[in-house]
Symmetry: C2
Subunit: 142 residues, 2 copies
DNA sequence: TCATTTTACATCGTGCGCGATACATTTATT
DNA sequence: AATAAATGTATCGCGCACGATGTAAAATGA
């Protein structure tokens, strides 16, 4: 039996999985200068847009569980990039707030998207093929 | 300063990162029945296509470093799904080989792609938007 | 032939990513 | 008001994912 559907190229998820990891590697080179990781950068993107958000709102925005965000915030706190504050309206909520250092990082980060495009190696992954599998996916999902 | 390029939606990588994790969660539900993880499933896909490959070939195929694959193979070995064998041509190479159990898993796995499509929740992520960002990316990268 | 470089794999440390679980606060129910 | 259910966060354990480093075998080259 050949099981055509079990070939790597025909998999729904693999292209997304592979390309996201490859791009994150490129990001990491630039983020090292800021001393943060890619998931930490994503949390900062959310806070740079809207400061002072509860953990839950951040996790929903990034499609990440709170048990991923909570220790990540702890590390950002250790780096003096954010501060936590218990909600006065709701004692359960922990609001995350940028420090001055966290705000300053935004200016440094502003150049990252431009630098990134130069660094991405398109030869490693077949974008056209990825687009086709995305078209298929959109078709399947209505 | 607004820094339009620092908005989450305008990020090169985030859509890929988010959608791959969301789909992997769906995969994991089905893979639990086989007792394996998603990265382990990817390694098996490679071996089901071509059995008996050195670690390096598998890692290149999946765009994963060998220091990710090596311990993963070790866990698959513990599960009696694969065996390792030192290359006779080259003593440095470690060839990975499916066991009978590993071969049988293929039959069970054959239904996964079909089951998956029913389970994917398209509402959580805007596929059209992802496609647009992909079009932009293809444009940028020539 | 013998030293140098490259290659293939393994090990270590850190930070996710997530299912399972625990716990306190808030809301809903009776 | 007392009880039950839901919500928000934290903790734990395991398996990646990857940079850095180590080691042995093979290839290179003077």
């Amino acid at each position: 039996m050949t099981h055509e559907q079990l070939k790597l190229e025909n998999q729904l998820c693999f292209p997304f999985y592979a390309i996201s990891r490859l791009i994150i590697r490129k990001y990491q080179n630039l983020l090292n200068e800021l001393g943060i990781t890619y998931p930490q950068y994503l949390v900062l993107l959310v806070l740079w847009e809207t400061d002072y958000q509860p953990v839950n709102d951040i996790s929903k925005r990034l499609f990440l569980n709170t048990n991923t965000i909570t220790p990540l915030i702890k590390r950002l706190e250790k780096l003096k990039i954010v501060k936590k504050e218990k909600g006065q309206d709701d004692e359960r909520k922990m609001y995350v707030k940028l420090t001055d250092k966290g705000l300053q990082l935004k200016e440094q980060a502003a150049q990252i998207p431009y630098k990134l495009v130069e660094g991405v190696d398109a030869s490693k992954i077949d974008l056209i093929e990825l687009k086709i599998s995305l078209d298929n996916m959109i078709g399947i999902l209505k």
